[in-house]
Symmetry: C2
Subunit: 227 residues, 2 copies
């Protein structure tokens, strides 16, 4: 086996019974007729179910529509592209000459599709369990931002209204950490409701985004506590 596929296997933590599936999963249609699109079809469904299961368990307070919105936000191309970079897929992809010349191995859509094809390949090779486990490992480091319709587009406003409706004071927000280079900082924000003894945290690409994420987390906690 190509040593690059060997090390991809290690990163996936899955040893293929049928290594042809692994090779096919990283083969773009520009390279060969034996390409990854049918595996991508399967992998897309594996991804949707595995993430649905994850959210169903973790976000017990969320209604169906909110679960759908949260999933759509999680499995979008941008996220899959990042995960593909984490697996070093640009160096493993098999692309036709023209596609390689035009930088296809860095194209987000090609990388996201190959990631899905890998999920499909693990599913065909070993069944749903190992494929689901791979999705859960991949998404371990991905922030889950619950997308709730009830709070509209602005969790901070929603939280403030929720508290005012119960005669409570407005929450306090505090940046507890900033990480990353100056032009691409991440803000880790804490939201506190002293009267309830509750604190929640959120992360965002700006102070305001971090506050919104923290407010969303707090709203979820309040909703779950009320049940």
């Amino acid at each position: 086996m190509d040593p690059r596929l060997q090390s991809l296997q290690q990163r996936l933590q899955h040893v293929f019974s049928d290594p042809k599936l692994l090779q096919r999963a990283v083969t773009h249609r520009s390279f060969s007729a034996d390409h990854n699109e049918r595996l991508e079809f399967l992998g897309d469904s594996v991804l949707n179910l595995a993430v649905a299961g994850l959210l169903y368990q973790r976000l017990g307070a969320l209604a169906e529509g909110d679960l759908s919105r949260t999933r759509a936000n999680l499995v979008k191309q941008d996220t899959l592209h990042q995960l593909a970079l984490g697996l070093d897929l640009p160096n493993v992809l098999r692309l036709g000459e023209g596609e390689t010349r035009s930088g296809g191995q860095q194209r987000p859509s090609i990388l996201a599709d190959a990631l899905e094809a890998l999920l499909g390949a693990v599913f065909v090779d070993a069944g749903y369990g190992p494929a689901e486990a791979l999705v859960h490992r991949l998404f371990q480091g991905v922030e889950i931002n619950p997308q709730m319709q009830a709070m509209g587009k602005d969790p901070k406003t929603g939280l403030q209204e929720w508290l005012q409706g119960r005669k409570m004071k407005v929450p306090t927000y505090r940046v507890v950490a900033t990480t990353g280079a100056a032009h691409r900082q991440t803000f880790d924000v804490e939201c506190e409701i002293p009267e309830l003894g509750l604190t929640e945290r959120g992360i965002g690409g700006s102070r305001r985004a971090g506050e919104q994420a923290a407010a969303a987390a707090m709203l979820l906690t309040l909703k779950a506590t009320q049940k």
Copy 2:
């Protein structure tokens, strides 16, 4: 357990470890806050993956886009509605008074949603394997009509052109059986290419639809043979 849920369990061929999941799956939001919508969210993904797996195995000749189109045609509300009727769901559904008065237990969307919720309930109760097996049992009697882009909207024309391109005669079509009451007949049509010694069959709600289905099956066979 309610005897109606008992017999539903038998029809599903699945005995629930957690019978509350079964009850929740047949509970519409008009009946109780503990309703089936979150399970439906899961079940929809279970259905998509299980049918994707089925088509991936059975239709080895189809490209990704055709697999997607074929699946969309299979899991549409009309099919799920019919499957729900087969499970006698109208007599098991738990609906609020208003919804019952307005005939909600016969509404296709409510029945299709409950069917998906049942798939989600089996998935939560016992994992993907049993849920997938249930989908495959349910779809055993459902005709799979491959939806192929290459042949456009008219498989008969596509087949004729394919044969003419190879200097062969046009195929013959023959109705081999009609079943069902007069206003809702089903036509079982055979398509034959004597020169190749091939026959394929298709089923449709009209003679013409049966012929198109038979032509589609024949095109698939020809495409598979060519590989």
